[in-house]
């Protein structure tokens, strides 16, 4: 008779989520997956609303990456109205977004995965959290938290507020930068660039140490797949560009504008979950693929800023190209964090920053598709808008959805290499770590002080035979 192990709740992805592991009679793994247990129905709720409210309303999809939804919505509206925002508006939107990336990546790296790295995967769960991290290395922890704060402050000053920004509108940005705000932003961008250069070597050496201790992270958890990310001239760009698809051998097999997404990506319902999975069409076949930090780094020819590009070169020299090791989402996140800090500083130097920020728009009946790279991967908004400016249909594909097939596969791998035949604590750590590598929306900011709560039930023939909690 089969056994089922349930881990509940693992984390929140738009709500409560849990993991199940089905074991066969001989203890071998049969199936495993992540169950997403909440649906709010945004694609229906948005229909009938005024289109120009989309940047505000859709931010409420996610309190962790509201800036991504805010900007994807702005870009979809620009496309629907057929307008091009002025250069200053594009720069301000991108600056807002660099602030968001600094906040999100710093949090993910240092607060969520920091405890795993500093204290080790085998550390006592009671101290393996941010409080333990602060105790072990107070100077690093303080700088890391400050970097997150500075990012959020940039996001807030440009966006009007940090969580659920408000200034992005169809056709641009609703305010113009004055000297005072410009001064504050420049100071924060300077500070971020200094902090990230102090933190990067520390994060790198901690990661290397864990890789030496746990070599299976590189061997057993390698996961060849297709990758997708947004590139401008072959360099990752979070705000705008073409979507590039890489095959597992590292060859670029597609490059397409967002508007074509519906001919290339196909969603399907996962019977046990409110979240849909997505597949990608390339070379006449359908593939599972990954988005997010590692995907973007793998798709890149180079990084657009010098320090990040140097780091990419070092990464490739050490781990090859493309790199399929799931754990390298962490290293990739570090490269992107450096890029975001450099890019924010670069934007502050731009002579175009002070100009007009908004062009008037008029909606004629039509459709607009817009996308950005959210910290966790490609985010697509698609609206049909009537001539009164009312949304008539909406379609959204969020980052974690693209990764869903791969997350489930990584859970299988983690379970296989660390679980089967080993004690339950090893199981919990491994599954948790595998999921966190994807930083699925809400393995997030809000797990700031601790580890994910896990509850494992071992069932045999429907009967509870064992339960592990922490």
């Amino acid at each position: 008779m089969n056994r089922t192990i349930t881990i509940d709740p693992v984390t929140r992805i738009e709500g409560h989520a849990r993991v199940f592991l089905n074991l066969a009679e001989d203890g071998s793994l049969e199936s495993a997956g992540l169950i997403v247990n909440e649906l709010r129905g945004f694609e229906r709720i948005l229909v009938g609303m005024e289109a120009d409210r989309m940047p505000l309303i859709t931010a409420r999809i996610c309190g962790v990456c509201p800036s991504a939804h805010h900007l994807a919505a702005c870009k979809a509206l620009d496309a629907a109205a057929g307008v091009e925002p002025p250069p200053a508006a594009k720069l301000l939107r991108e600056l807002l977004y660099m602030g968001h990336f600094i906040h999100s990546h710093a949090l993910s790296l240092f607060v969520l995965q920091g405890p795993d790295l500093v204290l080790g995967l085998d550390a006592d769960p009671a101290v393996r959290n941010i409080v333990g991290l602060v105790a072990a290395n107070p100077e690093v922890a303080k700088k890391a938290l400050r970097l997150r704060s500075v990012g959020q402050k940039i996001n807030e000053l440009v966006g009007g507020r940090g969580i659920h920004p408000v200034t992005g509108v169809a056709g641009g940005i609703a305010f113009q930068l004055d000297t005072e705000k410009r001064g504050m932003l420049t100071a924060w961008a300077d500070e971020a660039l200094v902090l990230v250069q102090e933190l990067a070597p520390v994060a790198k050496s901690l990661l290397m140490k864990q890789l030496e201790t746990h070599q299976s992270l590189l061997t057993d958890w390698s996961h060849p797949s297709h990758y997708m990310g947004t590139m401008q001239n072959g360099r990752p760009n979070f705000y705008d560009g073409l979507l590039r698809v890489l095959d597992p051998a590292g060859k670029t097999v597609r490059e397409f504008p967002t508007a074509d997404y519906d001919t290339i990506l196909t969603e399907s319902v996962v019977d046990y979950s409110y979240m849909k999975q997505v597949m990608l069409r390339a070379d006449g076949q359908e593939h599972a693929y990954r988005v997010g930090t590692l995907a973007r780094i793998n798709c890149a020819d180079a990084m657009a800023t010098p320090l990040a590009d140097g780091e990419l070169t070092a990464f490739r020299a050490a781990f090859g190209h493309p790199c399929h090791a799931t754990v390298m989402h962490i290293y990739a996140r570090l490269i992107e964090l450096i890029y975001a800090c450099e890019r924010a500083r670069e934007i502050m130097n731009s002579p175009d920053l002070g100009g007009e920020t908004r062009v008037p728009v008029k909606f004629t009946a039509g459709r607009g598709v817009g996308h950005v790279e959210a910290p966790r991967g490609t985010l697509i908004h698609d609206y049909e808008i009537d001539d009164q400016g009312i949304v008539r249909a909406a379609n959204l594909i969020v980052a974690t959805q693209h990764n869903y097939l791969s997350i489930n596969r990584s859970i299988m791998q983690a379970a296989q290499s660390h679980v089967v035949g080993k004690d339950d604590d090893g199981l919990l750590n491994a599954v948790e770590f595998a999921i966190r590598c994807y930083d699925p929306c809400l393995s997030c900011a809000t797990h700031a002080l601790g580890r994910m709560p896990l509850d494992v039930e071992v069932r045999q023939g429907g009967l509870l035979i064992r339960r592990v909690r922490r």
Binding site: L39, R40, E43, R53, L56, P66, S268, V270, T446, R469
Partner: protein, 311 residues
């Protein structure tokens, strides 16, 4: 022995997680709060799955599924004081706008007739059933303190937490967004309502004077007014003012129509008609609340159906 800390439980239901992130945005001030409380059940910070007895409970999010309802009830029975934390908990918020659709309509849009989805049936196994309606938490459990805001500005969160910790009333005023808005109301000859995207609004004058519908005057300030001060009309995310909530014959649209028709040359009935046509937009954050939904003249399903039929 140190002084006993206030025991705190928190829970999130159907929401975006933003209210809990807003607590992190207290930045260095979070240490004051952490010094005074002992965090127990809190799905984002600790691994305590049970609901231990607590002095204080924060609940964010509305009730969308049976699971949400159960969690709210467990919070009530474990906590001496319960705070409805954020607009979703207080009024339903954006998830609350789901009340105007049946579950079948929602499933149809998301899973059955969706542009990029090739399967044509909703998930059936392992997921918790959605309830028929979306419910603000005070229709299910008693609430001791309401803290709306989407999310509430960290200053208001700190005020509310310190008030409960120190056993004093909250200092937050019950003012509208206008109290913090730097724009000036002026009498104008504007004769037609403008859509948000008509032209580029002038930066110093009240949006209503310019013919744009801004909900600032009917919305409680729990945000410090970032929208109008950055060129964007208020959309009412912190929910209505006490005046709108408590008087049966006052409503978001009638209040705006009174004020705007005084400031401009736009006839009052035109404003009412326009807001009813865009009711899903203007009532998006608060429509699930009985304080709005039970008003005798509030006919949102009819207004929305009329717009959808035009299609």
């Amino acid at each position: 022995m140190e002084t006993a800390k206030i025991k705190l439980n928190t829970e999130w239901l159907s929401d975006c997680g933003g209210c809990h992130v807003a607590v992190v945005d207290l930045h260095e001030k979070i240490l004051d709060v952490l010094g005074a409380v002992e965090i127990q059940h809190c799905p984002v910070l600790t691994d305590i799955k049970e609901y231990p007895k607590a002095d204080l409970g924060l609940i964010s999010g509305a009730i969308r599924s049976e699971h949400d309802r159960e969690c709210a009830e467990k919070m009530r029975s474990s906590c001496t004081h319960v705070v409805a934390f954020g607009t979703c908990a207080v009024y339903g918020g954006i998830p609350g706008a789901g009340i105007v659709h049946t579950r079948e309509e929602i499933f149809d849009t998301v899973y059955v007739n969706n542009r990029t989805t090739r399967t044509h049936k909703p998930p059936l196994r392992s997921v918790t059933k959605l309830e028929k309606l979306v419910t603000p938490i005070d229709e299910v459990i008693d609430v001791d303190l309401y803290l709306p805001g989407c999310p509430p500005h960290p200053a208001f969160i700190l005020d509310a937490l310190l008030a409960l910790i120190e056993g004093r009333p909250a200092r937050a005023k019950k003012e509208s967004i206008c109290a913090r808005c730097k724009r000036r109301m002026t009498k104008s000859e504007v004769a037609h309502i403008k859509a948000n995207h008509d032209g580029v609004p002038e930066t110093d004058t009240c949006f209503l004077s310019q013919g744009y519908i801004c909900l600032g005057s009917v919305t409680l300030d729990r945000c410090t007014a970032p929208c109008p001060n950055n060129g964007v009309m208020c959309t009412g995310c912190a929910g209505p003012t006490m005046r709108v909530l408590t008087e049966p014959n006052r409503d978001i649209r009638t209040e705006i129509a009174d004020r705007m028709s005084n400031l401009t040359a736009i006839p009052r009935p035109d404003i009412i008609a326009s807001m009813e046509r865009s009711s899903k937009t203007h009532y998006s954050y608060a429509m699930a609340s009985k304080m709005i939904g039970a008003k005798p003249t509030f006919l949102i399903k009819k207004w929305i159906a009329e717009v959808e039929e035009q299609q």
